[in-house]
């Protein structure tokens, strides 16, 4: 009976895939390399902290994600650095994190709208707070 054979084949394929995934999946996510920029696909918590974060840390990542590459390209500064970049889970074209540049060497929060190639930098104003709300899951996508 071809239908029954087909169903058995599909069930078998699914079982093999599940076993392979269990073997390949690590118990905990791998720790990022030192200096790497981390992209976490989770919803960020709203940060009430003011604009500048004068603490040097991240350096150029040897393994940039596509979204980081896009953000850095939009900044157009070869010495720009990113850290704590978080892509919105339900709208991965939107990312938030901190950046610093050669001309502005303190880390400041940013919001990235990838589909519009637009990057907003925290200027300490209430307006940036409104923009940063877009980082939260479920917010309307502009």
């Amino acid at each position: 009976m071809p239908a029954r054979r087909k169903m058995l084949f599909v069930l078998g394929a699914v079982a093999v895939a599940v076993i392979a995934a269990l073997i390949a999946w690590p118990a905990t996510p791998p720790a990022p390399e030192a200096g790497a920029v981390v992209v976490r696909p989770t919803a960020p918590a709203a940060s009430p902290s003011p604009a500048p974060v004068p603490e040097p840390s991240a350096s150029a990542s040897p393994t940039r994600s596509p979204i980081e590459t896009s953000i850095l390209a939009s900044i157009g500064d070869s010495r720009a650095e990113l850290r704590d970049v978080v892509a919105r889970r339900d709208a991965p074209q939107i990312a938030c994190g901190e950046k610093r540049t050669a001309r502005d060497p303190v880390f400041r929060r940013f919001v990235w709208l990838g589909h519009l190639k637009m990057l907003a930098t925290d200027d300490g104003s209430a307006d940036f707070g409104n923009i940063a709300a877009v980082c939260r899951e479920g917010q309307p996508v502009p």
Binding site: S74, I75, G76, D77, T101, R103, D104, L113, H115, L116, K117, M118, L119, A120, T121, D122, D123, G124, S125, A126, D127, F128, N130, I131, V134, P142
Partner: protein, 323 residues
């Protein structure tokens, strides 16, 4: 059967011809025009248009330029005003062909660098210099065809900054600017890739700020406070009183509606295109026709408080200082 097929074909052709002949205003489109000036300039002008691309680089960054112009430019008796166009971030003129051809149909020559980072305005000024060279070249279709006493600028998003910067750094060569979705300064990276406050407050010329009410994250009408120019109203208020200026927001329009062809298509929502370019064709074209072609009737539409612009149903957040 053959007769039936012929009848169906004839009906289809007739329906298509009728749809093409109907003025778009008569159809159901978002932000349709309401008054005579908006309706006039909402429709395409009388010129058939041609688009060419420079064979070599036209700006200092090595980009080519696209030029949109009336097809019969060589046979016209008058020189035509020029509009220099500035693209939004990571965009080329390909994203704005509907709008740019619309301008050309009204008798403007439009030059658009293919630069994708136009915020400083330098490549926009380069494109102006390119057209000046073309105008002096007997082998060019633009030889003695451009009226360089009437040059305007227009641009979208980062290009809105670029268009304004080009005007303010043109030593008077560019008379007017139309900005579409001029981003709040908080979106500028680096800051001087934007329209800076001292540049604006020390500038001259005229300017029409155009945005959309659905673009409240990038180019909102008002802001909460702070020292940066983070809204269309802040830009308008910072514009010197000695400049002719106007500001308005198209209802429901999002950041990329100017890229409509003319609508946004089924997937427009993915690229922040909600209503399409329709509403942007009337008053922005009228502004340029007033400033660069001397259409005084178009100018009266912007008269503060009482002009047609202030009663147009598709617009809100309107203000001007036009006497």
């Amino acid at each position: 059967m053959k007769r039936l097929s012929r009848a169906i074909c004839t009906s289809l052709v007739s329906a298509t011809a009728l749809a093409a002949a109907l003025p778009a205003a008569a159809q159901s489109v978002p932000n349709a025009p309401t008054g005579p000036v908006e309706t006039q300039y909402y429709a395409n002008g009388s010129y058939a248009t041609t688009t060419t691309r420079s064979t070599a680089a036209c700006d200092s960054k090595g980009n080519q330029c696209d030029v949109f112009y009336p097809t019969n430019i060589a046979s016209l008796n008058t020189r035509l005003p020029l509009v220099v166009w500035a693209n939004g971030t990571d965009s080329t003129p390909d994203n704005y062909t509907n709008w740019l051809k619309h301008l050309a149909s009204w008798g403007f020559v439009v030059v658009a660098t293919r630069d994708k980072q136009t915020g400083y305005g330098n490549t926009v000024l380069d494109s102006l210099a390119y057209m000046q060279a073309q105008e002096a070249n007997p082998a060019s279709p633009f030889y003695h065809r451009i009226d360089f006493a009437h040059v305007g600028a227009a641009g979208h998003s980062q290009g809105a900054s670029g268009a304004a910067n080009a005007m303010f750094h043109s030593n008077g060569a560019i008379l007017t600017t139309v900005t579409f979705e001029l981003p709040s300064q908080t979106w500028c990276n680096p800051a001087d890739n934007c329209l800076l406050t001292p540049t604006l407050t020390g500038g001259s010329g005229s300017i029409f700020y155009v945005s959309g009410t659905a673009d409240s994250l990038i180019a909102p009408d008002t802001q909460s406070g702070g020292t940066q120019l983070n809204s269309q109203t802040a830009y308008y208020n910072a514009t010197p009183a000695g400049m002719l200026k106007a500001k308005g927001l198209l209802k429901g329009a999002n950041h990329n509606d100017i890229t409509g062809t003319p609508g946004c298509g089924l997937l427009g929502f993915l690229k922040a295109c909600s209503n399409g370019v329709y509403g942007y064709m009337g008053f922005p074209t009228a502004w340029l026709a007033w400033q660069l072609k001397g259409d005084a009737t178009a100018g009266t539409a912007f008269k503060s408080g009482t002009g047609e612009f202030f009663t147009a149903t598709a617009w809100q957040g309107r203000v001007s200082n036009i006497p």
